[in-house]
C-alpha cells in the first residue's frame, strides 16, 4: 500500500475519533458518554497504528505518528467528508453515521486482511477484532432507533457520504449489505475523498491548536 492510502485510513479513524470524543461529557446518558469516549479512544489508537506504518514508508527524518496526525496542512489530510461532519448534539445523525461507518469500515478491513503485505494484513486482523465491539454497539442502537423518523432521515441523508468512504470497487458490497442502491454521480458530488467539507477547517484548527502553539514541545 502507498503512504497516501495508509494516510486515508489513519485520517478517517483520527477524525472520526475526534468527532466521537465530542460526546464526552454531554451524551444523553452516562453509559453513552462512556461508550462514545471509549470508541473514540480505540479509533484514535487505530489511527496511530496506521500512521506508524505510513511513517515507515515515508522515511523522512523526524516523521512519526504524531507529526503525521497533527503537523500537516489541512489540504494534505486524506479523510473522507463523511467523518468530518460535526453532528453533535444530533443523536439520531450520530448513530446513523456510527452504523453506516462501522458497516462500511468492515468491508474495507476484510479486504485489508487479505493484503499481501504482512504488516497491513496483521494490523487489519487486530483492528477487526477490536472493531467487533464498535459494530455491536452500532447495531444495537440502529435496532433501537429502528423506524424513528429522524434516524431514518439521517441514514437517508448520510448514505451517499458512507458510500464515498469506500473505493468504488467496494461500494456494491456496501449497497448489498445495506439493501440500498449505489448513489449516482449527482448525490456523490462533494462527498468523495480528496475534497473537504466545510466542517473540516474548524476541526483542523481545534485539533492542531496545541501542537501549533508550541512547535516541537515534548510532553
Amino acid at each position: 500500500m502507498s503512504a497516501q492510502e495508509l494516510l486515508a485510513l489513519a485520517d478517517d479513524e483520527l477524525v472520526l475519533g475526534w468527532r466521537n470524543s465530542e460526546w464526552t461529557g454531554i451524551a444523553p446518558f452516562l453509559e453513552e458518554d462512556v461508550a462514545f469516549s471509549s470508541i473514540a479512544q480505540t479509533e484514535i489508537g487505530h489511527a496511530r497504528a496506521w500512521y506508524e506504518l505510513a511513517a515507515r514508508l515515508i522515511e523522512r527524518e523526524g516523521v512519526d505518528a504524531d507529526t503525521l496526525a497533527f503537523d500537516r496542512e489541512p489540504g494534505e489530510y486524506r479523510c473522507a467528508p463523511f467523518v468530518e461532519m460535526r453532528l453533535v448534539p444530533d443523536w439520531a445523525a450520530t448513530i446513523a453515521r456510527h452504523w453506516l461507518y462501522e458497516t462500511a469500515d468492515r468491508i474495507r478491513i476484510e479486504t485489508l486482511k487479505g493484503s499481501e503485505e504482512r504488516a497491513v494484513a496483521a494490523l487489519a486482523e487486530k483492528i477487526d477484532r477490536e472493531e467487533a465491539y464498535h459494530r455491536m454497539h452500532a447495531q444495537m442502537w440502529a435496532e433501537r432507533l429502528g423506524e424513528e423518523p429522524r434516524f431514518v432521515a439521517a441514514v437517508e441523508e448520510l448514505w451517499p457520504y458512507a458510500a464515498a468512504l469506500l473505493p468504488p470497487e467496494q461500494r456494491s458490497t456496501l449497497a448489498t449489505t445495506m439493501s440500498r442502491e449505489i448513489p449516482g454521480n449527482g448525490p456523490l458530488l462533494g462527498k468523495e475523498r480528496g475534497q473537504h467539507s466545510d466542517d473540516f477547517a474548524p476541526l483542523w484548527e481545534e485539533m492542531t491548536m496545541v501542537r501549533r502553539s508550541v512547535p516541537g514541545a515534548a510532553w
Binding site: A49, Y133, M136, H137
Partner: protein, 158 residues
C-alpha cells in the same frame, strides 16, 4: 551476563499500569525475550491499540532491563494480542480483585452476550448481565450481578 530467565522474572514483577494486581507477564503482552551481546530484545504487544498505558509499559520494561545491566530493545509484535494469552495465574488475580476474566475467545459478538460466560467475581453466580460494552479503559466492559447486586468490570474477550 543476563539470562532470558532472569529477564522474564524481572518483567513478571512489573504491574500493569491500569490493573496493578496483574503483571505484564500475566497479561500475556510479552511475547518473546532474546538475550545476546549485552542487549535484550523484547517483543511486546499492547492489549488494545488505543491502550494509553503502552508507553508507560514500554518505559517500565526498558528500566528493568537496564537495571539488569543490559541495553533494552522493545519491539511491537505484529501479531495482535488475544485475551486468551492471559495466564491462569493472571485470571485468578483478576477474579480476586473483582474483575471477571475474559471468556475464552470465540467470535466476540457471541461471547459477550452469552449468559453463563461471566460469573460474578464476588459471589460466583452466573446470573450476571452486560450493562455496558464499554468501560473505563478500552479492555473492559461493565456487568451487573443480579444475584448479589454488585456491579463489576469484566475484561473484554479479544
Amino acid at each position: 551476563m543476563v539470562t532470558a530467565a532472569a529477564v522474564w522474572d524481572a518483567l513478571a514483577e512489573i504491574p500493569d499500569p491500569e490493573i496493578p494486581t496483574v503483571s505484564l507477564v500475566d497479561l500475556g503482552v510479552i511475547r518473546e525475550v532474546e538475550v545476546g551481546d549485552g542487549r535484550v530484545r523484547v517483543s511486546f504487544t499492547p492489549t488494545f491499540l488505543g491502550c494509553p498505558a503502552v508507553e508507560v509499559m514500554r518505559s517500565l520494561m526498558a528500566e528493568r532491563i537496564r537495571e539488569l545491566g543490559a541495553e533494552p530493545e522493545i519491539d511491537v509484535a505484529s501479531e495482535g494480542w488475544s485475551s486468551d494469552w492471559i495466564s491462569e495465574e493472571g485470571r485468578r488475580k483478576l477474579r480476586e480483585s473483582g474483575f471477571a476474566p475474559p471468556a475464552h475467545a470465540g467470535p466476540a459478538t457471541l461471547v459477550q452476550i452469552q449468559t453463563g460466560q461471566h460469573p460474578c467475581p464476588y459471589c460466583g453466580s452466573d446470573d450476571t448481565r452486560l450493562e455496558n460494552l464499554f468501560g473505563p479503559t478500552p479492555c473492559r466492559s461493565i456487568r451487573y450481578c443480579d444475584a448479589c447486586r454488585q456491579p463489576f468490570e469484566q475484561f473484554k474477550t479479544l
